[in-house]
Amino acid sequence: MKVDIFIPCFVDQLYPETAFNMVKVLEKAGCDVNYNKDQTCCGQPAFNAGFWEESKAVCSKFLKDFKEAEYIVAPSASCVGFVRNYYSKLFDNSSDHNNVIKIAEKTFEFSEFLVKVLGMDKFGAMLEGKATYHDSCAGLRECKIKEEPRRLLGNVKGLEILEMDDVETCCGFGGTFSVKFESISVAMADQKVSHALATGAKYLISTDLSCLMHLDGYIKNKGYNLQTLHIADVLANGW
């Protein structure tokens, strides 16, 4: 199966190793991974800031870059949710409208693609210790992902998954919100991290590096003993 990967802008810049881990797992699953080197960003940052015109220009590029793709898989529910649910808002009444619907149908978040499309949930991964899984808001509410990552993590040898309190509450990242309203954002991180620590977990795992980047920043600042990991990093570990 031919799969085009979309590597979100900040993953491209900050977390290339996670992207390579996603590729490693997809290849093990038998996918023929294609990476269009022209790609940049899904357009969400400007959209969320209210700059829809600037956003639309970048979304148009995304549509063009992925026009030929059979499947588009990304290690980010946030970008996937945006492509699925908001492109139609931007391209309403435009000649791109049908293209937008098609793109939305073939774009998947990594863990949901593995479980729902490929029907696979075991990759021989190993990680020793207790972990807790953080539902990203985009994963949970924009993409309706809940069981898939838990199923995948449940099959990782040595890993014990413990649910934290208020698991569906936002971690406080929210893009520019995290700098514009730093104090609220950090207070939310504080509650999320406290709940995670209370489980006794050593690892905090999620589908979204944006949440993890924010939480990890807070954890490092406090010097807590809790390591953040993207689900692709976990699934690619130990083999």
Partner: protein, 459 residues
């Protein structure tokens, strides 16, 4: 930054660091969280009920003029009087005029956010009229000289100890009374006022247009007394409160109770059709309904944000909002706080003064998830952000930054420019707010894009 935005930022910084505040709010909201899911069981098809409710509100709002006129026709037939107020001032003038006519010295009122919106109590005080809040939560807030903290639970931020202390201070009661004893104190005080009052003021939860009546929902019975005991009853209502038919209450009463307070149905539900009719033994001699616009038609005019008028003020989105739970109701400095407040206030008032509220959200979408009438609250926040930019309210710096972002994002080569060190230095400098309480960001020396060919043997 506008003054309102600066004040919001300062207050939210203080509140989000206030652990005691956080504890009280979570304690009170968790009480709702425990019962709301139970009340939901009364619906066999909850989503269908919510969709139908949204549909009924859609119909009501799309034909708002006709609905309100139909109400007026029916209501005036029974001797009720309708007053149309475009602004808060007009509504206040109307109340003043009635109070003068009735020689009113004491006025009792039930809980109503609309009367908060027009600052009725302060206005009446200046006229030398005593206005007494009769809802327990509102009574507590009035004693404390504070605005309501939450649209459904006005004193949500006070513990029972706080209330006992307040009563001791203001009313001279012992400082260790239990909630039951405190309620009895308020009850005795308020009964007196009900008997004295010449005028009763209420809001309304629904305007039922086909029969020309208002419906009031409450748990204490004080609203019922406020509208039936004094000789004159004035109901002040936002024009968006319309539901088309009496039958719609079968849907809206349980929805409001479930999502607002986790009850199957609220304790007292009253339908008021007008003043006392011939042969009836009780009820007011005169009844007025004041329809308040006060900016609501701005929302109506805008097809994108119009659905915010479907709100039934259940408060569920406030309880679900992590931002609200961290900063509390007063930080917003608006009548309506939480997600719905952030959505409507820029339209009811000035966009420029309140647009920051639409940005003060992580867009987690939980508000949209819980809204009984399925208002797309977080998308409306995005809509507001967009409108603010369209109206030219973004700063010069922001406009330049997003232009640069666009240029960079359309050009793959630019995204590979500069090594990790340079990017680290730049980003951590520009976003100093990031690093105040968070570790530094660490850019990779090469982008994934640059590494792809190397790893695939093509580099």
């Amino acid at each position: 930054m506008t003054e309102t935005a600066e004040s919001f930022k300062a207050k939210s910084t203080i509140k989000s660091d206030d652990r005691e505040h956080r504890r009280k709010i979570n304690f009170n909201i968790n009480k709702y969280n425990a019962v709301v899911p139970v009340a939901k069981h009364q619906f066999s098809e909850l989503m269908v009920a919510r969709e139908r409710a949204k549909n009924a509100k859609w119909r009501a709002i799309e034909t708002l003029d006709q609905q309100l006129e139909e109400f007026e026709r029916q209501f005036t037939k029974r001797g009720g009087k309708v007053i149309w107020a475009e602004t808060a001032e007009q509504a206040l003038e109307a109340v003043e005029k009635i109070c003068k006519e009735k020689n009113c010295k004491t006025l009792v009122k039930s809980k109503s956010m609309v009367t908060e919106e027009i600052h009725l109590n302060q206005f009446l005080e200046k006229q030398g009229i005593e206005s007494v809040e009769t809802d327990l939560g509102e009574y507590i807030q009035q004693l404390d000289g504070e605005a309501p903290y939450h649209i459904v639970t006005p004193a949500m931020h006070k513990s029972k100890e706080d209330v006992a202390k307040l009563f001791a201070e203001k009313l001279g009661t012992p400082s260790d009374l239990t909630p039951e004893q405190l309620t009895l104190v308020a009850r005795v005080k308020l009964r007196e006022k009900f008997i004295q009052a010449e005028v009763g003021v209420t809001g309304a939860n629904f305007i039922i247009s086909d029969i020309g009546a208002i419906a009031i929902t409450e748990n204490e019975g004080n609203a019922r007394l406020s509208c039936a005991f004094p000789k004159t009853h004035i109901a002040i209502v936002g024009i968006e409160k319309v539901i088309p038919t009496l039958g719609d209450l079968g849907l809206f009463w349980p929805l409001l109770a479930t999502y607002g307070t986790g009850q199957k149905v609220t304790v007292y539900n009253t339908i008021v059709t007008g003043p006392r009719q011939e042969g009836e033994t009780d009820g007011p001699e005169d009844m007025y309904v004041i329809f308040l616009d006060n900016g609501r038609t701005n929302l109506l005019n805008n097809p994108k944000t119009r659905e915010a008028l479907y709100c039934i003020r259940c408060g569920a989105c406030l309880n679900a909002c992590p931002v609200y739970k961290n900063i509390g109701g007063h930080t917003y400095e608006t009548t309506y706080s939480g997600p719905i407040g952030s959505v409507i206030t820029p339209h009811l008032k000035e966009m420029d003064d309140y647009k920051h509220l639409s940005n003060a959200s992580s867009l987690c979408g939980n508000c949209t998830e819980v809204c009984p009438v399925r208002i797309n609250l977080h998308e409306l926040l995005l809509e507001n952000r967009h409108e603010a930019v369209e109206f030219g309210m973004a700063t010069y710096g922001e406009r330049i930054a997003w232009k640069a972002w666009k240029t960079g994002s359309l050009n793959r080569k630019m995204m590979n420019l500069g090594n990790g060190k340079l990017k680290n230095w730049m980003i951590n400098k520009v976003f100093s707010a990031w690093t105040a309480h968070r570790g530094k960001l660490n850019f990779s020396n090469k982008t994934f894009n640059e590494m792809w060919d190397e790893r695939n043997g093509k580099g």
